[in-house]
Amino acid sequence: MIFLKLLEGIGVGLLSLTVGLLFMGLARKITARIQRRYGPPVLQNFIDVFKLFSKQSISHGFAFDLGLVAGVSALLAAVVFLPMGQINLFPHNSSLIMIIYLMTMAYLGMAMGVSSSGNPNATIGVARALTMMMGYELPFAAVIFSVYIFAKTGSLTNIVAAQGGGFLNWNMVRLPFGFLAAEIALQGMLGEKPFDMAIAPAEIASGPMVELGGKYLGFGMLQHAVGIYLETGIMVDLFLGGASNIWIFVTKQFELFFIALLINAVLPRFKIEDGVKFMWKVPLLLGVIQALIVVL
């Protein structure tokens, strides 16, 4: 029984990695098409990751190693608690706040790893990412707690169950302002433009990734892949009514990711304080309106 769960958990981890990398590849292809280019193969990111793990690399010490591994591992540990279609390993343990705080561990690990390299560009990138995080978490928190109060539950499994029975029961329809706010917050969460100041390649030499090479960069890419999977997955469970099976789930995730991608392809970058201010104006206002509607 426990062994079975273990296998299932590893399966879910692999699934999230695969889907995440596939999404990243699709993102490159779609962005290329928007820019009227041919674009790389869809599986390009798998090739990249394989190459990275076969490349030699340098390390700045055990904190560097631990931090980068923690970045992927904590996200993989969080992803098993996510209900995705019929795959729901721990239906009684899918508290959303817990998943969000587990994701924080990944960010802490990553931040620790790249900062221990001693490169100021990496630290500036991390500082920017954390500042942006404070920006988008505020509207996102408003949305989460609206959904909590609306659904009278904090477990993702129950939130999904409460949206059963057709499109009109989805929180996307019932809580439209919250959905909009969460969409904008998702853009920041995924680190897509206009909120990609953390990894600005031309200003701060790709920020946190500046000292990463070889397998360390590979771990960074895997973290991004699982991150995409987890963040879009949370949104699907919160607003798009979950899914009846994993294929529909991934399709819904891709729809959300696709929107983020289109915005990413056409917009330039915010300045960091403007990004935070924007997050605290438009999405937060939407989130607050939603919370007021729910409470009153």
Partner: protein, 621 residues
């Protein structure tokens, strides 16, 4: 025999006397302090819930009953405070600072007295003893001038608090003729329906004292100063244990003020509680925002403590079973992780000789044990799951949401995200990044310190993974307050009203995923370790550009972009308000003094008028 409770007070007093005699020999002083703490911890095993003891003090012909009563809450607080104090004094065995052991023992005596006493005279006396001993302790900081200033400021706030409590004690004594806390609380509860404003007024007198001691907004101004300039080995106690006295006091009086009778409600809460909850939330947010921009690492964590107490106040002000559980649980967690953080900071400061973050950096290679303790400490403080801060933060959100308070919850969430930011700032600036050449010879703390750090690491992980060991006693406290305790199904389950978290499951999940991650790490291509100077510098050779570790370290103006966002709020100066108040008081009192000393006739007039008023008042009464 129930007199063993009194020994909880007398043992530290005796130890204190011995330590005071021996204070010139640093090591003996520390040894006596540690052993007294350890003996008190042993004594605690003989104390059990429900014990009470009364001693009639004959004071100039008047009988003052001093009574002790051990409740669930008091035994819980006693255990955590004395156990932490024992660890801390064990750590300070090697301490070379000007901290004096007998002061800490006086505080311990007051600590035990406050937590066990059931009469207001004892409470007030112990409160004063604790206050003055801690004020004098603050004087022993590294920087004499700053610590003198901080102690003076702390003393002023303390005195204001004491007056307020003194007034409250006498009003209650006058009203009921009893000095027992439980009798008075019961009396206030019984009249709250008829005279809500009276009760509110009296309770506020006590609450001002408690808020000052806990450093709740707007009485927080002494906190950063006192914490930052106190001796490094005293700050853990100040932040971990002493801030909880205020919380303990609030918990004594909360059952009354939260009665719904006679009080209009706001959002499902009595409006007083609603306001008090917002005070807590404001505390949490203000503390977080102020912590962003500190350069002194102890000051940063002082603001962090202040912010965490806001969490506790917000939680207990709801006075629901989840809220009180969450509040007490967070008080415990805060004691543990903030104590650990301040102990590691003491270790770092003792080795580097500075507390400025912009002067440190890259110490992780030199002090690995301290580094890991600090790492787990900030992970706990940020509320990351397998560590101990997670459960309580999570429960606080549950409690707030259950009351349908989304905005307050969002503000708390903001404070939590902000906490992650400033914690990372401290983490980076002290331990990560480039190490300056002047710290090349820095060594790890002595073995004694390392043992304490290992124990703290273990405790932070253990109580994170097995929250049941703490939630069970808290359940008893909650039910003794007349609330329904939370169901703690098995060790490790944290059950809220909205969803469950089974923490060991998270730990297993993390353990497995870390194993997989490290397997991937070790089977993939080789890596080699390089020095910190072999770094990306855009092709420039560091030596040719006079690039030193100090210039290649980023820790100054860490969050500059958001300074602009918060700039308007920095113009409001709470400190300035208190200064203005002090100036105003000084001016008014000198004006009054003028009346008395300028002219003998006016003085005589006032004296006679006062006498007449006294006589009439006595006659009418």
């Amino acid at each position: 025999m129930n007199s063993n409770i009194i020994w909880l007070v007398f043992t530290p007093l005796i130890g204190s006397a011995i330590a005071a005699i021996l204070y010139r020999v640093k090591f003996l002083d520390r040894l006596v302090t540690f052993s007294t703490f350890a003996i008190t911890l042993l004594l605690l095993f003989s104390v059990h819930v429900g014990q009470s003891y009364t001693f009639n003090l004959n004071f100039m012909g008047k009988i003052i009953p001093l009574s002790w009563n051990v409740t669930h809450l008091s035994i819980f607080m006693l255990y955590i405070s004395v156990a932490f104090g024992t660890l801390l004094t064990f750590y300070s065995l090697m301490d070379k600072s000007r901290m004096k052991g007998f002061l800490l023992l006086l505080i311990l005596a007051a600590n035990n007295w406050i937590f066990t006493t059931n009469d207001m005279v004892g409470f007030f006396f112990a409160w004063e003893l604790m206050g003055w001993a801690s004020i004098v302790s603050v004087l022993g900081g590294r920087d004499e001038n700053s610590s003198r200033h901080a102690a003076l400021y702390y003393a002023m706030m303390s005195i204001a608090g004491s007056y307020s409590m003194f007034f409250g004690v006498f009003t209650l004594w006058k009203l009921t003729g009893s000095l027992s806390i439980s009798t008075n609380v019961a009396y206030l509860s019984s009249i709250v329906g008829m005279h809500p404003w009276w009760v509110l007024g009296i309770v506020s007198l006590f609450f001002v004292t408690f808020m000052i001691k806990a450093g709740i907004f707007p009485f927080h101004t002494w906190v950063p100063m006192a914490y930052a300039y106190a001796p490094d080995t005293f700050t853990p106690f100040l932040s971990g244990v002493m801030s909880k006295y205020g919380i303990y006091g609030m918990l004594l009086f909360l059952p009354i003020s939260l009665m719904e009778k006679g009080m209009p409600a706001a959002f499902g809460l009595p409006w007083v509680n609603y306001i008090f909850m917002w005070i807590g939330v404001t505390t949490a947010v203000v503390g977080t925002v102020l912590a962003f921009f500190q350069d002194d690492v102890k000051k940063l964590f002082a603001y962090s403590s202040f912010s965490n107490l806001g969490y506790i106040v917000a939680a207990i002000s709801l006075f629901s079973s989840v809220g009180v559980t969450a509040g007490i649980y967070h008080a415990f967690n805060h004691l543990l992780f903030k104590g650990a953080l301040f102990i590691t900071l003491a270790a770092v400061i003792s080795r580097t000789g500075t507390s400025k973050m912009s002067e440190m950096g890259g110490l992780w290679r030199k002090m690995p044990v301290t580094f890991f303790t600090f790492f787990i400490g900030i992970a706990s403080a940020a509320g990351i799951p397998p560590f101990n801060g997670f459960g309580s933060k999570w429960l606080i959100y549950q409690a707030m949401i259950k009351q349908h308070l989304p905005f307050a919850t969002v503000m708390l969430f903001l404070a939590s995200t902000g906490a992650f930011m400033y914690l990372f700032k401290a983490f980076h600036s002290v331990f990560l990044g480039q190490r300056s050449a002047r710290y090349d010879n820095v060594k790890e703390v002595p073995v004694v310190g390392q043992i304490v750090e290992y124990l703290l690491m273990f405790a932070m992980i253990f109580f994170g993974v097995q929250p049941g060991y703490i939630l069970k006693p808290i359940g008893a406290i909650v039910s003794s307050m007349g609330l329904k305790p939370l169901p703690t199904m098995a060790n490790g389950y944290v059950t809220g009203m909205f969803s469950n978290v089974y923490v060991p499951l998270i730990s297993w999940s993390l353990a497995i995923s870390f194993t997989v991650g490290f397997i991937l790490f070790f089977i993939s291509a080789k890596h080699k370790y390089v020095s910190q100077s072999d770094n990306y510098t855009a092709g420039q050779i560091p030596e040719e550009w006079n690039l030193t570790p100090e210039t290649y370290q980023f820790s100054w103006k860490f969050y500059e972009p958001i300074e602009g966002i918060f700039a308007p709020f920095f113009r409001i100066k709470i400190d300035g308000f208190f200064r203005g108040l002090a100036n105003w008081t000084a001016a008014t009192s000198s004006a009054i003094k003028e009346i008395f000393v300028s002219n003998a006739q006016i003085y005589a007039f006032f004296a006679v008028a006062g006498l007449i008023i006294f006589v009439i008042a006595g006659w009418v009464a």
